[in-house]
Subunit: 137 residues, 2 copies
DNA sequence: ATGACTGAGTTCAAAATTCGGTACTAGCAT
DNA sequence: ATGCTAGTACCGAATTTTGAACTCAGTCAT
């Protein structure tokens, strides 16, 4: 958690990851969307690549130079849960209203939410949960 | 999400929230645990109180002056999902091994995890999910 | 060939934040 | 009164962020 916080405890990083989840892959699009200073964007994208959350994927459009798409890795995509939980929390508590984008089931288009589940996969309410020490495992 | 990222896109804030979830409420305990500079801790705790994630609750031990416990509000507690998702991700992807503390069900002590659920409360795998625009709602 | 355009990275100086240390205030006991 | 200490304030140095300018290199048109 402390290590995760080191990677993710940064506003720009969170915003970049959100962009990536929205499907934005190009440096300049991210920059336009986020209003991030170039050196910040370059720095943070580089760090995300270094940490294995993103990869650079070269691509070439007809008539243009080679460019790089910033694509989430599996590890990066696994952060969807965290980012969605954060977005849900933001909707509920920071007065920003519903987010325009959410997770849906691929097959059916049904909306999905982040929640707690037990070992059988059944939902458990947050109020029924508590923190506890774990076994040595 | 951008607003949430503004509040939470900060390493110390994440670590303080983790402490709060562990039940640590006293300034000096947090400081000892986190190794945070005093002014950072004061600043971040103050911000968390300002944003309504925490409240200060005065208490008095016999023979000591009045002190303040930093207690999570409902909004703060609602971040359990986000923090747990982050911790789970950290376990899975940052090579830090299992966290010593996790969420369990109050009544049964069974371990809980963060996951995606559909409208019926059934678990949906992350690979079966995708981002989509939402209705106007 | 040259020139224009531009995508992304680099550099720079000013502003902001962080950090570690010190000083301070105020509540309690002696 | 003094001593201890919980938490805040202050300070200067170090680091990071920011916004602007610059740079390099790939592509196209002439």
């Amino acid at each position: 958690m402390a290590l995760a916080a080191e990677i993710l405890g940064d506003r720009w990083t969170l915003l970049i990851l959100r962009e990536a989840f929205y499907g934005v892959q190009r440096y300049d699009d991210m920059r336009a969307d986020l209003g991030a200073p170039r050196s910040m964007l370059t720095d943070r994208l580089g760090k995300l690549v270094d940490k294995g959350l993103m990869t650079r994927r070269p691509y070439r459009e007809p008539g243009a130079r080679a460019r790089e798409a910033y694509v989430l890795t599996d590890a990066g995509r696994a952060l969807a849960l965290t980012l969605m939980a954060l977005a849900q929390w933001g909707e509920d508590h920071v007065l920003s209203g519903p987010a325009p984008v959410g997770l849906v089931e691929k097959r059916t288009g049904r909306p999905l939410r982040v929640a707690l589940i037990d070992e059988e996969g059944a939902r458990v309410d947050l109020s029924a949960a508590t923190l506890a020490m774990r076994d040595a495992r």
